[in-house]
């Protein structure tokens, strides 16, 4: 995926996203998401009672919470269209 179909028709939009792992992200949003997920996941692990496997379970719940928070506050950098099948 080297180029995105030449000059885009979308007007007035500054090209500010970079591609990581086959999808485009905004560097600032990515940073926010990395920080949120790190805090919720590691935080969940650290505040859990120290009897296995509770830390792991708390950590996984933290990971899910972080994921949900990031999904709510960050908009996907995609435009999505459903098209009717041609034949």
């Amino acid at each position: 995926m080297v180029n995105d179909s030449g000059p885009s028709s979308e007007k007035n939009e500054v090209k500010e996203n970079v591609e990581i792992w086959e999808d485009v992200v905004n560097i600032k949003d990515l940073l926010i998401s990395l920080i949120i997920s790190s805090i919720t996941t590691l935080g969940g692990y650290l505040i859990a009672p120290d009897t296995p496997p509770k830390p792991l379970i708390f950590g996984l719940i933290g990971a899910i919470i972080g994921f949900i928070i990031s999904s709510v506050i960050i908009k996907p950098k995609r435009t999505f269209q459903m098209m009717d099948e041609e034949k």
Partner: protein, 451 residues
């Protein structure tokens, strides 16, 4: 075997299928990280061994079916095993048919399962007499696997030369942790290193973002435009043999057989090697990608099931990457299971057959149906509402946590170091397969080098 026990097994299979259908869809859920702890809890909670095995089989089948969804829609591996499929799934995504990838992959999974269950049982009884010899040479087998896979890559000399330094990096960190007391001397840090290799390419890219010059030179993009073709919902129960065409069924079956036979190899490495080999002659890019992902998914599923069942039935020691990773609690979970007293010793051949059949049938019935029927809805939802940033964040958070869990704060640095090296090697063409084999062979390799 009484009716209550059978009911318990069915309940365990349903629980495994439902739970891991959800977990499988979540991107970046490493198989070892999500399967091993839950299995361990069940073992320690004192469930019947046969019920645990049923749960585990159902869980891996369901997980393998749904982890194709994040690959298809976002190019994020749903687990380590689906990493090799990313490239091909991306081709299909680019052509606007990500739901086609999902259906092809899920059907490949089903074929892999159908082939792997009976074959693993046969293979296990065949190699049981050789158990002692194989167990004695497991290190050599892993090392041989690394060399073999290195020879299969494009830059074979580079791959070969990288084996020893990479092994030194892994063992160097382990000895450091032992030396400074980060972990007890009988603990070998594994899971987090494994994950570190998996996210190597992403970590490398993140480090590059911190470099001003590289960051400025990176190509900038607008929003990504995605078009998905609407297709009509199939009536009735989806049939995997209709979703795949004849040639795809052929290569998928062949790949699955190979997956069973090479149960002791890194499934990721075999997946890359066979998937590429079997599809490289197909000209049309969409067809080639469909061929590759269906056979790769068949292979990973087959390798997973055989990697669990064959060592469990024939050897009683975890001598396959699957057994060492996700299935480790089935072999060793003191005080309930030890290497001298685990499922291998507690279950009979008919127990293994019943547990496997119940587990896999329930998982296929439930998960395959959901995956095929609702793949488009799932795709649409994820594309519209789930930002890529959140997925990367989730993966990153899990790696941090598992690094900390393995050996404390210092290991977060250690795993970043491994990721960085693994990411560079990966970019140079030393694929995951070679790196995983080195991870397994590292302790032996280093002891041989010292002499």
């Amino acid at each position: 075997m009484d009716a209550i026990l059978i009911m318990e097994m069915i309940a365990a299979a349903i629980a495994g299928a439902v739970l891991y259908t959800v977990i499988g869809i979540a991107p970046g859920t490493d198989e070892t990280a999500v399967l091993a702890p839950v299995t361990l809890v069940l073992v320690l909670a004192g469930f019947e061994p046969i019920v645990i095995l049923t749960f585990f089989i159902s869980a891996i089948v369901a997980k393998k079916l749904t982890d194709s969804i994040p690959v298809a829609i976002a190019g994020i591996p749903g687990g380590v095993m689906s990493a090799p499929m990313v490239e091909h799934a991306m081709v299909l995504k680019k052509h606007g048919v990500p739901d086609l990838s999902i259906r092809k992959m899920a059907s490949g999974s089903v074929i892999g399962t159908i082939i792997a269950v009976p074959m693993s049982l046969v293979l296990a009884s065949l190699i049981a007499p050789l158990a002692d010899v194989i167990t004695d040479y497991s290190n050599q087998i892993f090392f041989g696997g690394a060399v073999f896979l290195a020879l299969m890559t494009k830059n074979r000399i580079l791959a070969l030369v990288s084996i020893v330094p990479f092994a030194l990096l892994i063992q160097g960190l382990r000895h450091l942790y032992w030396g400074i007391g980060a972990v007890p001397e009988d603990t070998t840090v594994f899971t987090s290193f494994f994950l570190g290799i998996t996210i190597g390419p992403v970590i490398l890219k993140l480090f590059e973002l911190l470099n001003k010059d590289i960051r400025k030179k990176l190509p900038r993009h607008n929003k990504k435009e995605i078009r998905v073709n609407k297709h009509k919902v199939e009536k009735g129960f989806p049939n995997p043999f209709k979703i795949l065409d004849k040639k795809e069924i052929g290569t998928t079956s062949f790949a699955s057989v190979m997956g069973v036979l090479t149960f002791f190899m890194s499934p990721v490495g075999m997946t890359i090697f066979l998937g590429e080999t079997l599809s490289s002659r197909v000209k049309d890019p969409i067809k080639r990608a469909a061929r590759a992902i269906s056979s790769m998914d068949g292979l990973t599923n087959a390798a997973y099931i055989s990697g669990t069942l064959v060592p469990l039935i024939a050897l009683g020691v975890p001598l396959s990457p699957t057994a060492i990773g996700p299935g480790s609690a089935l072999f060793n979970a003191p005080p309930v299971f030890t290497l001298e007293n685990n499922l291998h010793h507690l279950l009979s051949m008919s127990d293994f057959i019943i547990a496997t059949v119940i587990g896999s049938i329930i998982a296929i019935g439930f998960t395959f149906y959901i995956t095929i029927k609702y793949s488009q809805q799932i795709c649409a939802f994820v594309f519209k509402y789930i930002p890529h940033e959140a997925m990367l964040g989730l993966f990153f958070g899990l790696v941090l946590m598992l690094s900390f869990m393995d050996a404390g704060w210092i290991n977060i640095g250690g795993v970043l170091l491994i990721s960085l090296v693994a990411g560079i090697l990966h970019r140079w063409g030393v694929n995951y397969g070679v790196q995983f084999m080195v991870l397994y062979a590292a302790p032996w390799l280093v002891s041989v080098l010292v002499g």
